[in-house]
């Protein structure tokens, strides 16, 4: 069907995903089949996607094909170019790791009451949906794949449906996914109306008036932003992501949100013609708000997976800030800078997939080992699950954008792009961008606080509950899965020039120019614009770090005969500390909660029980819920209450309606 090996590999990935799904469906009550056959197939599917993506990126150009499915006058068009290739790679990276992690993880569901058939079947479909979204080259296939992705992930969210909160989360998720999907469809409708067809080639060729282009942009932004979880369209995300099985959460947070980013880039930069500068401003504003709100809410959470989900909101905010910069620069015809910002965004896309995947897998490992998601019950896990502990640490360091890990590189690139604002002609824009970068800086610092809290409370200190004290090392597959992602986090942090070289074709394809300067001073030095403007050498910094630390340790080892001696903690000489005396996650977040109190709806409640024990209860809710979502729900509710009066139950009233309708219509047509 296609001569290109990249496209063939991509098809192979789709087929493998379908195969995994089919095997799960057919295997029925044989959980071993799922574990030993379906999950590894998922991994293979990921590998194939990864291969296809890398091939597409390195070979350049694009390949298209049509599939004999779909509408009679519009078969499914698929196309693999650099942009699709990059996102295929992202999907492949996380998915292939699931092949290692999954078999051991799903084992814990074998004895549960929830059907593994559904788990395996929908996992495969979910992957197929994501792959096809990235491959689609016409709006119809895109929408089919998009909704397939939403729908199958919905079933995965509802997997453990005995819990009413999970059902509610699944409902909210599907509802908002549906709204988003329809909005995207509308956006495509606008583009197709001008392009005269639903295939992307027609849309590319079309020229839209600025007004309609902005409408299409707005629709795409709302639709994809809803999936990407941008504030204020994020309400579903912290509900839905945590309740899915952890490896699915990793897929949803790490990959599915990226597919939304893909869609947005595809529509706005590829299909929608001329870019307007104020689109960039909108993106900057929404991205900044999302980043800040996301991280603040993340910091307030005590449920580990929920915290990670909020952190995804934050990271998507960062990605959209970078995209906003790219649009701004592109609209003002600074293509080189636009390329820099776009590369920053795409780099962060890859990074977030890696470290968020890693963190969710780590959360899954904790869940597997302790059946606990509540941070307040954890503690001291580093000594009980050292592998997971160290991998998780790498994830935390990466997400906190600390050098020399990968998160830092993309954030650094974003800052570099923002600092080129002086090149813009408009003074207003010049002063707006620094504010966005201030927000970015604030966000970065708060992320660090969040993950100090997570790591400190969960892995350090002492266990706060009995089952956490009994935590054990997780099976090899799960450790290996985390290990691969952790290794990738480090590699992408240390070798940025190579990664940028890989991403570069995407920028060239979309913007007409890439970042030729990035590796101009050799592979050691990352110089996005020029060596004088900014440079960063991750290999050298990690070398220096390792060298000095090694020297210091070696020196101490040599000098001191005696090793360290163990003793009781000092704690300013107070009584021996118990686990209950440790700082809790809630307490950790208290200073920030006070500083940013305006954003939250806080309900605090201190009571002294009869036994004299003080109890403290804290409820923290999103103000946006009451401001945005509740009024809509109330509106529909009251409209439906009004409408049902039509069905009063009295047949004479019904007849009256018929008579009235008849008379009104006769009156209308006689008047006409």
């Amino acid at each position: 069907m296609s001569a290109s090996p990249a496209l063939s590999l991509a098809f192979l990935a789709v087929v493998l995903g379908l195969g995994s799904s089919a095997i799960s469906l057919l295997a029925g009550r044989q959980p071993r089949v799922l574990r030993l056959l379906a999950m590894p197939l998922v991994g293979l599917c990921g590998l194939a996607a990864l291969g296809a993506g890398v091939l597409a990126l390195t070979q350049g150009g694009s390949v298209s094909a049509t599939l004999p499915l779909g509408l009679p006058w519009m078969p499914w068009h698929v196309r693999l170019d650099a942009l699709s290739g990059l996102f295929l790679m992202v999907i492949g990276l996380v998915t292939s790791v699931l092949g290692l992690y999954g078999p051991a993880y799903v084992r814990s569901f074998e004895y549960g009451r929830d059907s593994l058939v559904a788990l395996g079947g929908f996992t495969g479909l979910f992957l197929v949906g994501m792959l096809l979204v990235v491959l689609a080259d016409d709006a119809f296939l895109f929408m089919v794949a998009w909704e397939l992705m939403s729908l199958s992930s919905y079933f995965l969210v509802a997997f453990q449906h005995e819990n009413a909160a999970n059902r509610r989360a699944a409902f909210l998720y599907l509802l908002m996914a549906h709204i988003g999907g329809l909005t995207i469809l509308l956006g495509f409708g606008v583009l197709a109306a001008f392009g005269g067809g639903f295939d992307f080639d027609a849309m590319r060729a079309a020229t839209l008036s600025p007004g309609w282009a902005s409408v299409a942009f707005a629709l795409a932004f709302v639709g994809f932003g809803m999936k990407a979880g941008l504030v204020p369209m994020h309400a579903w995300l912290p509900e839905a992501h945590p309740v899915a099985p952890s490896h699915i959460s990793a897929l949803m947070s790490g990959v599915m949100l990226k597919v939304a980013v893909y869609g947005f880039i595809r529509v706005v930069l590829d299909l929608n013609g001329e870019v307007q500068w104020f689109w960039g401003v909108v993106l900057l504003a929404v991205g900044s708000v999302s980043a800040l709100m996301g991280v603040l809410f993340a910091l307030m959470q005590t449920d580990l997976k929920r915290l990670l989900a909020y952190s995804s909101v934050e990271n998507l905010g960062i990605i959209f800030i970078a995209l906003g910069l790219a649009l701004l620069f592109q609209a003002t015809e600074h293509s080189m800078l636009a390329a820099l910002a776009l590369v920053a965004a795409l780099y962060h896309v890859i990074n977030h997939a890696l470290f968020k995947g890693l963190l969710f897998l780590g959360a899954g490992a904790i869940l597997h080992s302790t059946h606990e998601r509540d941070l307040e019950q954890m503690g001291g896990l580093l000594r009980r699950m050292p592998w997971t502990g160290y991998f998780f640490l790498i994830g935390c360091l990466s997400i906190s954008a600390l050098p020399p890990f990968n998160g830092f590189v993309s954030e650094w690139l974003t800052f570099q792009a923002a600092l080129q604002a002086w090149q813009l002609e408009s003074g207003v824009l010049r002063s707006l961008i620094p504010i966005a970068s201030a927000v970015l800086a604030l966000t970065g610092a708060l992320v660090a606080a969040t993950f100090v809290k997570v790591y400190g409370v969960a892995f350090l200190g002492q266990a706060r509950s009995r089952h956490v004290r009994r935590a054990r090392v997780v099976p090899f597959g799960m450790r290996a899965g985390q290990g691969v992602l952790a290794l990738l986090c480090v590699l992408l942090g240390v070798l940025p020039t190579q990664v940028i070289h890989l991403i570069d074709p995407v920028a060239t394809e979309l913007l007409g120019t890439g970042m030729p300067q990035a590796g101009a001073s050799g592979w050691l030095w990352l110089t996005p614009i020029s060596a004088e403007t900014a440079s960063y050498s991750a290999p050298l910094s990690i070398l220096a770090l390792a060298l000095i630390a090694g020297l210091a340790i070696w020196w101490f080892k040599r000098r001191t005969v005696r090793g360290v001696r163990r003793c009781d903690p000092w704690d300013c000489g107070f009584a021996a500390p118990t686990p209950r005396m440790q700082y809790t996650a809630t307490a950790f977040a208290q200073p920030v909660r006070r500083v940013f109190g305006l954003l939250f709806e806080i309900e605090e409640d201190r009571t002294t029980g009869e036994d004299g024990v003080q109890r403290y209860r804290l409820r923290l809710t999103d103000r946006l819920w009451g401001l945005v979502y509740a009024p809509v729900a109330r509106g529909v509710e009251s409209a439906s209450r009004r409408v049902v009066r039509l069905q009063s139950g009295n047949v004479r009233v019904y007849l009256g309606w018929t008579l009235a309708t008849l008379l009104v219509l006769l009156w209308i047509i006689s008047g006409a």
């Binding site: 001291g380 580093l382 906190s400 600390l402 050098p403 650094w412 570099q416 600092l419 604002a421 002086w422 003074g427 010049r430 002063s431 620094p434 504010i435 201030a438 800086a441 604030l442 970065g444 610092a445 606080a449 100090v452 809290k453 790591y455 400190g456 409370v457 350090l460 200190g461 002492q462 030095w525 060596a531 004088e532 403007t533 900014a534 440079s535 050498s537 050298l540 910094s541 220096a544 770090l545 210091a552 001191t560 001696r565 163990r566 003793c567 009781d568 903690p569 000092w570 704690d571 500390p577 686990p579 005396m581 440790q582 700082y583 307490a587 977040a589 208290q590 200073p591 920030v592 500083v595």
Partner: protein
Amino acid sequence: MISAWLIALLQALLCAALAPLLVGWVRKVKARLQNRRGAPVLQPYSDLRKLLFKETRVAHTASPLFRIAPYIVFVATWLAAATVPLIALDLPTARIADIIVLVGLLALARFFLALAGMDVGTAFGGMGASREMMVSALAEPAMLMAVFTLAMTAHSTSLVSVMEHHLADGFVLRPSYLFAFGALILVALAECGRIPVDNPSTHLELTMIHEAMILEYTGRHLALMEWAAQIKLLLYGVLVANLFFPWGIGAAFGPLALGIGLAAVVVKLGVLGAALAVGETVLAKMRLFRVPAFLNLALLLGLLGLLSHVILEVGA
């Protein structure tokens, strides 16, 4: 090339070596201002030496991370300091990291410091970590705003380029620099745990920030932590001094230029240290929840600096 690397190494060692001296100097001036004789200026060296060779004890409840953290904190801080031009400008180490990487390296050190504080599982450690992260969360954007002002003026985030640009322009009165200077001073006070944000010489339980985190450390671990803190103070001092007043720094690698550079930086740091001591004598430590207001002032100054740069200096 080799000589450049050697000078870079020398400068790095100089950083580490000078750091305790700065602290000793500040303490001495402070004591004098308070009508005390105070400890000798070289006392911090003795303290470090004592701690380095003392027996090291670690709590039963501590994890391996507790023992690794001091090395990472020290190394990250030192590496950050090494990338700041101290006595000469165009050093290869300076190209490893620009201003943002520098902030990132300091953040890395802080991350591990806070984790180490939480590791033993005592109440004070967690408290210190929590407060430290809040303070840094507010200080970091202010810091970045201040340096962005400089970076946008010089069109570069490389410290060397910023200083070169400044030197080439000569002495120009820039409103933006004034604001950025104020912001950076405030941030430096907060980050280095000086009055009025934190008191480095107190162990009064409920007011500690930095000290609370390293409460459980002893021996060489404590030495590394203390040394790192001293290097950090030096680093901020050098940043303030050389970014805003780069004159005197060696533009070439000749012995004369380096000697002048060293002398210049010592003088500048001496003045700054004295000013810090005066400030710490005059001011009182703030309540913890006044600190955000303090840092918001810093952020405001940073933003004003950036905006005044955009509005007043770039022109229409």
